[in-house]
């Protein structure tokens, strides 16, 4: 328990100390929110779907949670690079506790990042339909963060060098983002796209956020939550397994 706590705390300390990184990482969501939100707004409105800013805000929150959590998990690669990983691998604690500490730390950081983006959305003019359901949005952020921090650790345990990062970005993280319905509604899609969006865990995170923030959703929120919980378990098991197999 103490081991999980101290490794969780380490992630938080590292996050809170990199102020420049925090500001930098808000740049991308801001672009999506403002440029797409206002740029595609008129088209979206004409199609009879209401305000695009309202629609895309939960997607942008989901995006920051996804990016932050996956990359905090992949941060394992930096631990490998700078050697700290070895310190945790020879420590007399089960490897799974190290992995869980790292995952929960990454998930916490990603949730904080999601909340920051939510605040930015509110400043940009986004209005949730019901302020009382905001705590539920937090639940969806946390679940999404755990899912992808687990995935990040699973990937990070396998990555040997920096070159792999680009590959993961282009073939894992970006597809997860674009296929999640963060940017477009999941209705009336071509069959293949429809299928892909439904096996993308982020779809359920973003959809869950939409249901509590703007009151429209594709899936029942309970279903989204159940899917996220299930996938989180799978990814943590996967991450735990590949972490336990690390040899250096």
């Amino acid at each position: 328990m103490n081991a999980i706590y101290i490794l969780w705390l380490r992630e938080l300390k590292r996050y809170s100390r990199s102020r420049a990184m925090i500001v930098a990482s808000l740049g991308q969501p801001l672009l999506y929110l403002l440029v797409l939100g206002f740029g595609l707004g008129p088209v979206f409105q004409k199609a009879g779907n209401g305000s695009y800013l309202q629609f895309v805000a939960p997607g942008v929150i989901g995006m920051s949670v996804l990016f932050t959590s996956v990359f905090s998990g992949i941060g394992l690669l930096w631990d490998r690079q700078f050697g700290f990983l070895k310190e945790t691998l020879v420590a007399p604690v089960p490897r799974i506790t190290v992995m869980i500490g790292k995952t929960l730390g990454g998930a916490t950081v990603a949730t904080i990042q999601g909340l920051l983006v939510l605040v930015i959305c509110l400043i940009a003019g986004f209005r949730p339909v019901n302020w009382l359901t905001l705590p539920l949005a937090l639940v969806f952020m946390i679940m999404t963060a755990i899912v992808f921090a687990g995935l990040g650790v699973a990937i990070g345990s396998k990555l040997q060098d920096i070159q792999g990062m680009q590959l993961i970005m282009n073939f894992v993280v970006l597809p997860i983002y674009f296929l999640s319905g963060a940017l477009f509604p999941l209705t009336g899609l071509p069959t293949v796209l429809n299928f892909l969006t439904r096996i993308d865990p982020l779809s359920y995170g973003v959809d869950g956020l939409r249901s509590v923030l703007i009151g429209t959703s594709q899936f029942a929120p309970e279903l989204s939550l159940a899917v996220l919980a299930g996938v989180a378990l799978i990814f943590i098991a996967l991450g735990g397994y590949s972490f336990s197999k690390i040899e250096i």
């Binding site: 050697g83 070895k86 020879v90």
Partner: protein, 261 residues
């Protein structure tokens, strides 16, 4: 304290460690001496649960590191060839994190941290980030950290690589000192002859994964009929230069250098 019998590690076709056997007594300082790529680090990794042996047996304080990993891990401290500190944390935070991972009770953790940081002359810098430390200071901190949980064995993998003579001298003085006061067994690898001769009570010369000679520095000189350990070493291992194949670890080392100031 350490008992190794017919230890073998193969990576595919390559045999990195080839039927190695040796014993290290409690409280002893034992050195593994060998050229680059001889199998020193691979052996240390197997002793410290980071790699599984292909065959052979290892006993660390009576425990098998492959089966009773966690129990074995409590018994040793290790200083790796490459740094393993968290650069974004302070010296004190690094010590504290280690203490928690090794289940050292809070009170003892603080007392020992203070004692060790004082000993290694880092107490005044305890609140500073490790990234602001010089190479020598980082090494000292790593060794201090290795002693924090009062291990029975301390593994040092080329601990003085890249340090100036002053730092090397000071480092060995402290290690010898703690070896006497805390009775810790020290297993070190190095390719500096003078160091091995100065600190180690017994030396094993390893080359191409095999131990080719074992004994005290004087015995090694006698065996090879040479008058210095360096001459004994060269007569045992030949004078060909060993070029190691650069692997992922070396790339990472290079990359890490770019990031370290």
């Amino acid at each position: 304290m350490i008992k190794v019998e017919n230890l073998v590690k193969k990576f595919g076709e390559v045999t990195a460690v080839d039927t190695v056997s040796f014993d290290v007594a409690a409280g002893e300082i034992f050195a593994f001496l060998g050229p680059n790529g001889a199998g020193k680090t691979t052996t240390i990794k197997m002793l410290t649960t980071l790699l599984r042996p292909t065959s052979g047996s290892i006993e660390i304080d009576g425990l098998d590191p492959a089966k009773q990993s966690n129990e074995a891990r409590k018994r040793f401290g290790i200083v790796f060839q490459d740094p393993s500190l968290d650069q974004e944390l302070t010296a004190e935070e690094n010590m504290d994190l280690h203490g928690v991972l090794y289940h050292v009770p809070r009170k003892e953790r603080h007392e020992r941290t203070e004692m060790l940081l004082n000993l290694f002359e880092l107490w005044d810098r305890r609140k500073d980030y490790v990234k602001t430390f010089s190479g020598g200071m980082k090494r000292r901190l790593e060794i201090a950290r290795g002693f924090l949980h009062t291990p029975r064995i301390l593994f040092l993998d080329e601990p003085t690589l890249g340090l100036d003579p002053q730092s090397r001298n000071q480092l060995w003085t402290h290690v010898k000192n703690l070896n006497e006061t805390e009775g810790v067994t020290v297993f070190l690898t190095t390719h500096y002859m003078d160091e091995a001769e100065r600190v180690a009570e017994r030396i094993a010369v390893i080359d191409h994964g095999k131990i080719i000679a074992q004994g005290s520095p004087d015995e090694l000189k006698q065996q090879t009929e040479t008058d210095s350990l360096e001459a004994a070493f060269l007569s045992l291992t030949g004078s060909t230069i060993r070029d190691e194949k650069a692997g992922a670890a070396d790339q990472i080392r290079e990359m890490a250098k770019m990031w370290r100031k």
